[in-house]
């Protein structure tokens, strides 16, 4: 125990002139969970990619168990016993679990022939030791994100990894799945594995880690013992200034005017009799475990996915929405959880992204795009949302996660949408930018917009929502007022299988349409 496994010193790394790491150091001991913290772009992932051989360092030294080592490729790291689980899961979806775990080191006969029975039984043994109930022959594409993560961990363990680096492992998991993950992390720690845990979620780090190293702007700031340090202290180390984790403001009461009402929305096994209403100026939180059907509700309302039956009423009028185009025409905007894939055209600049959904507005009589008008609108939006970009011509892929999110919000503001559906609005966004997004959401409701906010982070749901819709297995299991919503009450509903609606808040479900 507590032997130093990894020591990194004076690490420098640049990418085509941009300095990503400068004189960084890091120490990992066996049997510890070491959290690596910093805002987006602080260099956490880069430092760990250097350690795991994905990037080669420009300068500095790495010691492994006291011996200086050169780690030039992922395989070299694996052979030393250093494994990394990347933020974007790195699995081959078309292959089975076992084929994924043993990729690159399949047992072979005569150098070229494969034997899948061997890897299947080895994988089964591995799962047994992890108390996981999975068939090694399942195709990875058939697994949930959480299960895919378990496969990645199993893969690391199969290397007899002594160092396990996890880059934001909880970003896509629900609270229950995170607990499952932490159990496995604790098991590994007890076995003496050194674990690096990169995360934005401070509560989580408090809960699981022994020590914390903070990085900022590519530089090492400090390493502290988690138990002796407050969250406020950690945050101030991250941002380099003291900011107060703002206490949730009590949101202004929304008006009673109902802007959207969803009635009896059904789709196969995925959505079962969904009923709820959204008021003007309200933030309606959608909580639930992964796979509860929250995103599916959003996509159905937005016309992105088909549904079997159901009615939508907008401002008391029954409308028919079968495609995103119709949804936008009715003033509904959807901000996907997967910004990079569904929300932005990364290769285009800020200005173009902002006006993309409403180019029609900028057309002249003969069909030219009026670019100066578009630019002016984009500039207005950029200013009012406080988008931090060197210029409007900056390509969106070079912006930070928080600013990208603002660009998506800006896009829907230009499109004149009154109902905005946010799916995980702060996923992958650092602490500083998060509170800005929150402020922005509050500002939007003050302007009379209505917001549906899907989130897997309960503190976020509790902080922002006027009311909380809780879903489980495709049903709404309860709708709570901000007053009565607590982590416990939400979790209880979120795990309430069988779908008994057991709350007197049911009266909120069906306010009369046409009040508007």
């Amino acid at each position: 125990m507590n032997e130093t496994l990894v020591l990194m010193e004076g690490i420098d790394k640049s990418f085509t002139g941009v300095r990503a790491l400068h004189q960084c150091k890091f120490e990992l001991r066996s049997g510890e969970v070491h959290a690596l913290l910093g805002e987006n772009g602080a260099g956490k992932s880069t430092l760990m990619k250097v350690l795991s051989g994905v990037y080669s360092k420009d300068a500095g030294k790495i010691f492994y168990k006291g011996r200086e080592v050169e780690i030039n490729n992922p395989r070299a790291a694996q052979q030393l016993g250093i494994s990394i689980i990347h933020q974007e899961l790195n699995l081959m979806n078309h292959l089975t679990i076992a084929q994924n775990i043993y990729i690159g080191r399949e047992p072979r006969t005569a150098k070229i022939l494969l034997n899948d029975d061997v890897i299947n039984s080895r994988t089964a043994k591995l799962f047994e030791s992890m108390h996981l109930n999975l068939d090694p022959r399942t195709k990875v594409s058939d697994l949930t994100v959480a299960k895919q993560q378990m496969v990645e961990i199993a893969k690391s363990l199969s290397f007899n990894a002594e160092v396990l680096i996890m880059d934001e492992p909880t970003a896509a998991l629900t609270e229950a799945e995170i607990e499952e993950l932490f159990n496995i992390i604790r098991q590994l720690r007890a076995k003496g594995v050194g674990i690096v845990h990169i995360s934005h979620r401070l509560q989580e780090i408090k809960q699981i880690s022994d020590r914390v190293t903070v990085m900022r702007d590519g530089q090492y700031i400090d390493t502290v013992i988690t138990a002796d340090t407050t969250i406020e202290k950690i945050i101030s180390m991250m941002v380099g200034r003291t900011i107060y984790e703002t206490s949730p403001e009590i949101p202004e009461q929304p008006s009673d005017e109902v802007v959207l009402e969803v009635k009896h929305l059904n789709h196969k096994n995925i959505l079962k009799d969904i009923n709820f209403s959204l008021k003007k100026g309200e933030i309606l939180g959608f909580a639930g475990l992964m796979g509860a059907g929250r995103t599916e509700v959003a996509r159905a309302i937005f016309g992105a996915d088909p549904y079997e039956s159901g009615e939508f009423h907008i401002k008391g009028k029954k409308v028919n929405i079968r495609s995103p185009r119709e949804a936008v025409a009715h003033g509904i905007g959807y901000l996907s959880e997967d910004r990079k894939r569904c929300g932005l055209t990364l290769g285009m600049d800020v200005k173009d992204n902002i006006v993309l959904a409403s180019l029609r507005k900028f057309l002249s009589m003969i069909g030219w795009v009026n670019f100066s008008k578009a630019s002016a609108t984009a500039a207005d939006i950029s200013r009012s949302l406080n988008i931090k970009t060197p210029s409007l011509e900056q390509k969106v892929k070079f912006l930070s996660g928080g600013n990208q999110q603002k660009v998506v919000i800006g896009k829907w503001l230009v499109a004149d949408t009154d109902i905005l559906i946010f799916d995980e609005p702060t996923r992958g966004i650092d602490v500083g930018a998060k509170s800005e997004i929150y402020k922005l959401l509050n500002e939007l409701t003050r302007q009379g917009k209505s917001i549906i906010m899907i989130s897997s982070e309960l503190p976020e749901i509790l902080r922002m929502s006027h009311r909380v819709v809780v879903m489980c297995e495709g049903r709404i299991t309860g709708i709570l007022n901000a007053r009565e919503a607590t982590q416990e009450s939400i979790m209880k509903l979120a795990t309430q299988r069988g779908g008994i609606i057991a709350t007197d808040e049911i009266s909120h479900l069906t306010p009369l349409a046409g009040k508007a």
């Binding site: 994905v54 490729n73 992922p74 395989r75 694996q78 990347h86 790195n90 699995l91 081959m92 979806n93 078309h94 292959l95 084929q99 990729i103 690159g104 080191r105 399949e106 072979r108 150098k111 070229i112 022939l113 494969l114 068939d135 022959r137 399942t138």
Partner: protein
Amino acid sequence: MKTDSVLKTSLFRKDAMQRLLAFGALIFLFIGFSIASPYFRTFDNMVGILLATAVNGVLALGVTFVIISGGIDLSVGTVLTVSAVMTGVFITNNHFPVWLGIIGGILTGGLAGITNGFLIAKMKIPPFIATLGMLYATKGLALVISELKPIYFNDTPIFRSMAMDSILGKIIPGFEIPNAVLLLFFAAIIANLILSRTILGRYTFAIGSNEEATRLSGVNVDAWKIAVYTLCGLFSGLAGVLIAARLNSAQPALGSGYELDAIAATVIGGTSLSGGEGTILGTVIGAFIISTLTNGLRIMSVPQEWQMVITGGIVILAVYADILRRRNK
């Protein structure tokens, strides 16, 4: 035990669907043409279909590997040409022993393949562009090497008879199926073994499924990509030898456009152009569908230009059926 059987049947079902669909289409075509034309169902015509499939089928085997790996090879048709021409140069012009000439022809294809692989894996040229360049280069080289003239194999009649005689006919009298057809099935079995049982096959799928993840797993992706294109080149070379033997000559202007038939056969057979999915059996069935269609339409005296239109429709229909199947999953 129980999960075992459940899993096997479900796996079988999923993978088998497209093959079943393609196979059903093939049967449908056979029945349709048989009813429409008595000549279609004669033994001689069946042999004709089989022979026509042999060359395109062997080409498509190589293309299947490339497409599963997430790439594309547009040069297989003209690599076939240059391989045929080189076989002629070896055997007729330079009087090599026939077996050596054959190996030389196949290796010519391999050389083109390895070049493709190098351009794509090491020089990072997109597969479409790299193999488009190779298409032009080999097309020209075939003309240069042959000096624009066909090379005949009249001095070595054994070369033609290797492909066109029938070993099977000697064993089962009356069942005179040319060796070229046996070669297709033999090559398909080898290809299937490589794809499903060897490390090369596994990495072909892995690279097509997620190249970056494969690289990060410590697999030498560049080397395996080169191997995939080389294998494709070797199959093209084999197809070149086959067509030379069948025609008893190396025709320097033949082969352009064959790559499209090969890609079509692969796609009809259910190989996904986005990589990661595909089977050899599917490709073979796809190749049979194309030659059956061409043969049947010709017998029914549909003009050649309309045959092309119909083939185009079939390719689009096959891919659409595949998309529908995925959506329902």
